[in-house]
């Protein structure tokens, strides 16, 4: 996960400028991790870049030219971004509410509730996606209740379309919002809220003027994580989506496994990586988000 690495490096760089000596001593503790990351992450990544510029054993940018002139690539690219941004927005909205609730609980109860947030994490994404077909389907739990109460006309199309994709992906992404936002909310100084209360502010005003603005770094950190994960989504859109919900990962899968065109697969992967990196660079420099990475 490149952005995570990026976040860490930036954090480290900032610390280093603050306390050079302490960091210098600690550097050697990071070396094994760096070597491991280099071997299992950078080397394969280097191969992907290499393959993206290798056509029939020769250096060539044909792979990228093919992609940029392909209507399909463009369509899939737009779809990937639409799905990713939509899922991220829904996840941030719902995840924030959960985090806010968790932050107001007494610590012992919070632990239990955090476990429940983590629960979807421990289930295979394939199993979860299939489970959703049983919940959201035409004869699933939701539609059975609706048609029992209101007749056949009340049946909702919750699956094999964009709604199904967003539900499935949000279910996976929410923990990635809850934890950074929760950490932020718990770190906020209670005295600020107390002071506002004493000055006569109502809860909504306190939230809008103090809690929410202060939590923006947490929101941005969670949202970026969601976005990056979404760009690589694969199984959930394939199982819960409709015919239009084709992701870039599905294209990469086609070129890698079905047609053995590793040049095009690598070129697609590199394009996705570069665009993601660019997007992260832009988003992380938006005003008010600077503290998201420290």
């Amino acid at each position: 996960m490149p952005p995570e690495g990026g976040i860490r490096t930036r954090g480290r760089a900032l610390n280093a400028s603050q306390s050079n000596t302490a960091d210098g001593n600690l550097f050697w503790f990071v070396v094994p991790a760096l070597i491991l990351m280099g071997l299992i992450f950078l080397v394969p990544l280097g191969y992907v870049f290499y393959y993206s510029l290798l056509v029939d054993g020769r250096f060539s940018t044909d792979g990228f030219v093919t992609l940029l002139t392909s209507g399909l690539f463009y369509r899939v690219f737009i779809t990937t971004f639409e799905i990713s941004f939509l899922s991220t927005a829904v996840s941030v909205f719902l995840g924030y509410a959960v985090a806010l609730h968790l932050s107001r609980l007494e610590p012992r109860r919070r632990i239990i509730y955090m476990g429940m947030v983590m629960l979807p994490f421990w289930t295979s994404i394939l199993v979860k996606s299939y489970s959703f077909t049983l919940i959201l389907g035409r004869r699933g739990i939701i539609n059975s209740v609706l048609t029992y109460l209101f007749g056949d006309a009340a049946r909702l199309e919750l699956i094999y379309n964009r709604i199904g994709v967003v539900i499935g992906m949000t279910n996976y992404l929410i923990p990635f919002v809850v934890f950074p936002v929760l950490a932020n909310l718990l770190a906020q100084d209670r005295n600020l809220r107390t002071a506002a209360e004493i000055m006569g502010a109502r809860p909504l005003r306190i939230f809008m003027s103090i809690t929410l603005p202060l939590s923006i770094p947490g929101i941005v950190a969670g949202a970026l994580m969601c976005l990056v994960l979404s760009f690589g989504f694969f199984i959930t859109p394939a199982i819960l989506g409709g015919r239009r919900d084709v992701m870039l990962s599905n294209l990469i899968d086609l070129y890698t496994r079905e047609t053995l065109n590793w040049n095009l697969a690598a070129a697609t992967g590199v394009s996705l990586l570069l665009i993601t990196a660019l997007l992260m660079a832009v988003l992380s420099r938006l005003p008010g988000t600077r503290n998201a990475f420290t």
Binding site: S70, G71, L72, R75, V76, T79, Y130, T133, L134, G137, R138, R139, G140, I159, Y160, A238, I239, G242, R243, R244, V246, L251, L254, Y255, T256, R257, E258, T259, L260, N261, W262
Partner: protein
């Protein structure tokens, strides 16, 4: 006494060096023992399919030759290509369905088959892979929701949404789907190739509004039909048999089926080439093929085996498999065209 002294003399550094040397030597040790043809590896799809392979092929093979057969991973042409490129393939035998084999043959991923032990009738490509068996895709429905007299039985019927209203499913891949679309549009199944691609996509355009889900995996088909997400859909007889065994009343129409191919090959550069070749010869024997077909509802590639199948197993085959009403998948035609046509297919789906 000297030994004791020596042990005592081994310092920490020497010990570490020894450990390092042992670690370095380990892969060579593992390699030399594996090279003894004592066991071969092949990938498989797992589940009941793997059980059928074990019962009909691998266990009897081990009993006859003493060579152990180990299943490892899922068939994947990209992984195979990477293994062959590394010069030390993990798999010795490769077995899977469809146009992977012409493609793999082009890429040089398979060893030439030994024609002295393998019947040339089943050998395909550059003589480097063999037809293992043929499997059947057909129209399927759920008896809980439809009785047998209200369902489409041919692909033309399947396209007739007025006579047979209902939601449908097809696979989200071009191969097989284009063939079906052409036959639904009136092309004779025995005059399909070369496929009239434009006509196939025009035909698909007509059925598109009735396809509730273009299934990305084979197992989705059974789920969609079991839960009545769709009324009718394509499915594979092997999967339907499995669903019936677990109590889901799926039924199939064998009036007009698609006969598709599954192949087997020996992986290029395997150090256990001889054992792998023996295994390929073994699985193509008539008695083994018949036993497998009895378990898995397939058409054996060895014609002698068809006569040795049980009546129950033959019930899963169309009355006349060779009848011109059935679609016979031509993987050779697809090799080299998959990328272009699958991209066009995805574009069609997204429009």
């Amino acid at each position: 006494m000297t030994t004791k002294k020596e042990i005592g003399l081994i310092g920490r550094r020497q010990f570490t060096a020894g450990l390092g040397a042992a670690a370095l030597a380990l892969p060579f040790y593992a390699r030399s023992s594996a090279a003894q043809d004592a066991r071969i590896l092949l990938p498989t799809y797992g589940g009941s399919y793997q059980e059928h392979l074990e019962e009909a092929f691998t266990r009897p093979f081990t009993k006859e030759t003493g060579i152990e057969v180990v299943f490892s991973g899922v068939p994947d042409l990209a992984r195979l290509k990477a293994q062959v490129a590394s010069g030390r393939p993990e798999w010795d035998v490769f077995e899977a369905a469809g146009s992977w084999f012409p493609t793999g043959s082009e890429e040089g991923l398979f060893e030439p088959l030994d024609t002295s032990v393998i019947d040339s009738e089943v050998i395909r490509g550059k003589g480097d892979y063999a037809l293992f068996y043929q499997y059947i895709a057909c129209i399927c429905w759920n008896e809980d929701f439809h009785s047998a007299d209200q369902v489409p039985r041919t692909w033309k019927d399947f396209w007739d949404v007025e006579k047979f209203p209902g939601r449908r499913t097809l696979r989200n891949r071009a191969d097989m789907t284009l063939e079906i679309a052409l036959v639904a549009d009136g092309v004779e199944p025995d005059k399909l190739y070369p496929l009239d691609i434009d006509r196939a996509f025009d035909s698909l355009e007509r059925i598109k509004p009735s396809i509730a889900k273009w299934a990305s995996t084979a197992s989705e088909l059974t789920t969609l039909l079991s839960t009545n997400e769709v009324d009718f859909g394509i499915n594979y007889t092997g999967r339907v048999k499995g669903a019936q065994a677990s109590g889901t009343p799926l039924q199939v129409a064998l009036d007009q089926v698609v006969v598709a191919n599954d192949y087997i090959a020996v992986v290029k550069g395997t150090p256990r080439r001889e054992a792998a070749m023996k295994f390929v010869e073994f699985v193509l024997r008539a008695d083994r093929q018949a036993e497998f077909a009895n378990l898995d509802t397939d058409i054996p590639s060895n014609p002698t085996a068809v006569g040795m199948m049980t009546d129950e197993a033959r019930g899963w085959l169309p009355a006349d498999v060779n009848s011109p009403v059935h679609i016979r998948q031509d993987d050779l035609w697809w090799a080299g065209r998959t990328e272009e046509l699958q991209q066009r297919f995805l574009t069609f789906l997204m429009n």
